[in-house]
């Protein structure tokens, strides 16, 4: 389903929902919608990881003001 030779299996029920919302949201293809959704989710996770979690874990170190 994705470029680059990597495939992901999804259930029929999930796939139907993906198709439905890809159309509703105006994406040109299911692939485009899925890639966008994944990128967005990853960016959120990466931001949370870098900004809050990492800062909080390191800043308890007295060496850093």
């Amino acid at each position: 389903m994705f470029g680059g030779g990597h495939k992901v299996k999804v259930s029929d029920e999930l796939y139907e929902r993906i198709v439905k919302y890809a159309k509703l949201a105006g994406y040109s293809s299911v692939d485009e919608f899925v890639l966008h959704a994944l990128e967005k989710q990853l960016a959120q996770l990466e931001e949370a990881q870098s900004d809050e979690d990492i800062k909080e874990k390191l800043k308890g170190l007295g060496y850093l003001g």
């Binding site: 990881q49 870098s50 900004d51 809050e52 990492i54 909080e56 874990k57 800043k59 308890g60 850093l64």
Partner: protein, 717 residues
């Protein structure tokens, strides 16, 4: 964080009988072959191996004892017990690690190897794939998305229908990131019982046959951080939202009553995605933690308050710490009886002390970072697991967080000098009680006792010492009354050496050692700013240097070098870093040689001194399979200098050199030749230039145990 993770709920029900039976069989078989720790420690012959010189070896590991200061104060007659020990045997400088940072230095001690063998290069490492920094000592990981039970893949969480909660079925993991085998494991394999108290970089503590261990530096608080205090006040200081190492909570005092919440571990039982979908609002980071409401009743007339939390009442006087209070954080809303019965599965216990800073006119209540309770540990802080509770039952509760002295609260004026010294005194008291208990029951084998307080008071109070009147952080009047606190704490430790000497006889070797020395820290060097100014580091168009955070904003396509960690300098290497551009090989070597020469030639226009004495290339100082994981070079700062705080976490400031005005005014993350530690023993030291890596082989040899080939050091006695 993890008691629930440390249990396997559903599979436990299925597997309990089988595993339980197996466990009993295994336990009973072991019990018949191997003596218990108590039996081994009590048996006069237990520690003897052929070729052993001593039945008992005691090491007092005192973080941060400086060779120059110790010598001077011994000469002045201020430290009679150190002097007595030196007179019985020897006293020498002890070569430290490069960089001389505690996790690196203690790992050298523990493994007998340098960083190339144990993999700890700095307090802060970076992931070359994400270019993000992380704590080098230990990691607490959440459970994986799926788990396998009898070969069947299952999700690691079950959604509780119609609710915002999840039920985790798998445990997360806690991982000690130090590699290499601690020498006391080798001792255990040769039948020598061991007791290891608060050794740094030993969380979770490694198991040793016939061994007890309590974890030390690197042990997180219940929030998974290296220590996050809370301060509740009706007059929050300016800029409090960005304070690090602590959270300031503005509160109202209404009719003498304050209502607030104490935040504990992240609550993994909540389905934040579902909450976000349902409400359309992202759940704030702070609100992802379990919390406990509490109420403070402030006395109208007297400087005293009553704290009511988790069904307990605690009276606190102004300027005094409360006793430890255990707090049960409930992660799932359950009726009382189920909550009680299932506490270990759906709740975690933490422990705090309250410090009433002031009642009038401003209200201020400090709460320690939420500690892992030694009575009910949510994470593995001891080995065997019950050892922490056994200690707490005998000597009372104690700090379990790795470095408990709250220098962060002092740095931000939440504590003044007096508050800080009171709090550090609590840590000294813990150390004394632990030492006394273990020394009195120690019969045979190896005993290690760690002391953090000289190091932490050195960092925090250096500015108050005689000779530091021109330190940028010295405030006459405020600091002058504390001029003797550092020598006083050396004298406290001298008394502890005296107590250990009472247990020394002709079958006992006593070693007192430190991991590094100390120096003033007056000027901060921003390596990333220097790299930016000299064209080695570039920023993306439109990015202001001071907006760079955690290396975000760096233009990696045009960056050849970057700094992260307190001493680390890295090449943006092709094939290793995510956006690497410098090929490994001659081009990289040439770049490093060039920058090393330039950095060592920098002169501080304010002092006329060189901030950097030498840049040590990786291959000069490290050997072993993990050397390539470390920085490409380590900066050897001059005495009085250190990397800026900002540079250490990948930020850029607006000046290469600046005054250090923090109360954290002493440091040792410098050129290792400038800050040697110490070694004293009741026997002669034969090696002319003893080093930290020599101690593990030395202790093994004292017990007649062969030294593993991987160890780099050699025996000193």
């Amino acid at each position: 964080m993890t008691a629930p993770r440390s249990r396997h709920l559903a599979i436990a029900v299925l597997a309990l009988a089988v595993l339980g039976v197996l466990g009993v069989v295994r336990q009973s078989r072991r019990a018949s072959q191997v003596p218990t720790v108590d039996e081994a420690l009590a048996s006069p012959a237990a520690a003897q191996t052929s070729g052993a010189r001593f039945d008992r070896v005691i090491v007092l590991g005192i973080d941060g004892v400086d060779h120059g200061l110790l010598q001077a104060w011994m000469d002045e007659g201020l430290l009679p017990n150190f002097r007595r020990l030196a007179g019985m045997g020897d006293f020498r400088p002890l070569r430290t690690s490069m960089p001389p940072q505690s996790p690196v230095a203690w790992s050298n001690f523990i493994t007998g190897m340098d960083s190339g063998g144990h993999g700890i290069f700095d307090f802060i490492h970076r992931d070359p794939r994400t270019l993000l920094p992380f704590s080098s000592m230990s990691e607490v990981k959440p459970p994986a998305a799926t788990i396998k039970v009898l070969g069947v893949k299952l999700p690691s969480h079950i959604n509780l229908p119609g609710s915002d909660y999840l039920l985790p079925l798998a445990s997360g993991t806690t991982e000690n990131l130090r590699q290499g085998k601690p020498f006391w494991q080798t001792l255990g394999e040769h039948g020598v019982p061991t007791v290891i108290h608060r050794a740094p970089v030993n969380f979770p503590p490694v198991e040793a046959r016939q061994g007890r261990a309590l974890s030390g530096m690197g042990t997180p608080d219940m929030q998974g951080t290296l220590g996050t205090y809370a301060f509740y006040t009706d007059n929050p200081p300016p800029g409090y939202e960005s304070f690090s190492g602590g959270k300031i909570f503005p509160v109202d005092v209404y009719h003498g009553k304050v209502q607030a919440r104490l935040y504990g571990p992240p609550n993994d039982f909540k389905d934040y995605d579902r909450i976000q979908r349902r409400t359309g609002v992202k759940v704030a980071y702070q609100e992802r933690k379990a919390s406990m409401p509490f109420t403070v009743y402030v006395d109208d007339e007297n400087p005293v308050a009553k704290v009511v939390i988790d069904g307990k009442e605690v009276l606190v006087e102004e300027g005094a710490f409360s006793p430890w209070v255990e707090v049960d954080f409930h992660l799932l809303p359950m009726p009382g009886i189920i909550r009680w019965a299932w506490h270990d599965l759906i709740g975690v216990t933490g422990m705090v002390r309250f410090y009433l800073k002031s009642t009038h006119p401003d209200f201020g209540l400090y709460v320690t970072p939420v500690q892992i309770s030694p009575m009910h540990p949510a994470l593995p802080i001891s080995s065997p697991e019950g050892y922490a509770a056994e200690l707490a039952e005998t000597i009372g509760p104690f700090y379990t967080q790795g470095l408990p002295e709250d220098t962060k609260a002092l740095d931000r004026d939440i504590f003044n000098n007096d508050d800080f010294m009171k709090q550090a005194g609590l840590v000294v008291d813990d150390e004394k009680r632990m030492a006394q208990y273990e020394l009195e029951r120690f019969r045979n084998g190896f005993l290690f006792l760690y002391y953090s307080v000289i190091d932490q008071i050195g960092h925090a109070m250096w500015r108050t010492m005689r000779g530091e009147e021109t330190h940028p952080a010295h405030h006459p009047g405020v600091d002058d009354p504390y001029v003797n606190v550092y020598v006083d704490i050396y004298q406290e430790l001298d008394a502890m050496v005296g107590r250990a000497l009472e247990h020394v006889d002709d079958r006992t070797c006593l070693i007192v050692m430190s991991d590094h020395g100390f120096s003033s820290w007056r000027r901060a060097f921003d390596l990333n700013r220097w790299l930016l100014d000299h064209g080695y580091l570039a920023l993306k168009p439109g990015v202001a240097p001071t907006s760079v955070s955690y290396l975000q904003g760096v233009d990696w396509n045009n960056t050849r070098l970057y700094g992260i960690g307190i001493n680390g300098l890295y090449v943006n290497q092709l094939g290793r870093e995510r956006y690497g551009i410098v090929p490994p090989g001659p081009q990289k070597s040439e770049l490093l040689r060039e920058v090393a020469a330039k950095l060592a030639a920098v002169v501080d226009p304010v002092t006329g001194q060189r901030p950097i004495l030498k840049v040590f290339l990786n291959e000069e100082i490290y050997s072993g399979p993990l050397a390539e994981k470390g920085p490409d070079a380590q900066i050897g700062y001059n005495r009085g200098y250190r990397a800026s705080d900002e540079c250490a976490v990948g930020e850029v400031t607006d000046a290469v050199l600046s005054d250090n005005t923090r109360r954290w005014s002493g440091d040792h993350c410098q050129d290792y030749r400038e800050v040697p530690g110490v070694i004293l023993a009741n026997i002669p030291i034969r090696k002319p230039d003893p080093a930290l890596t020599d101690l593990a082989p030395s202790i093994l040899t004292l017990f007649g145990v062969p030294v593993p080939e991987v160890m780099k050091g050699t025996p000193v006695f």
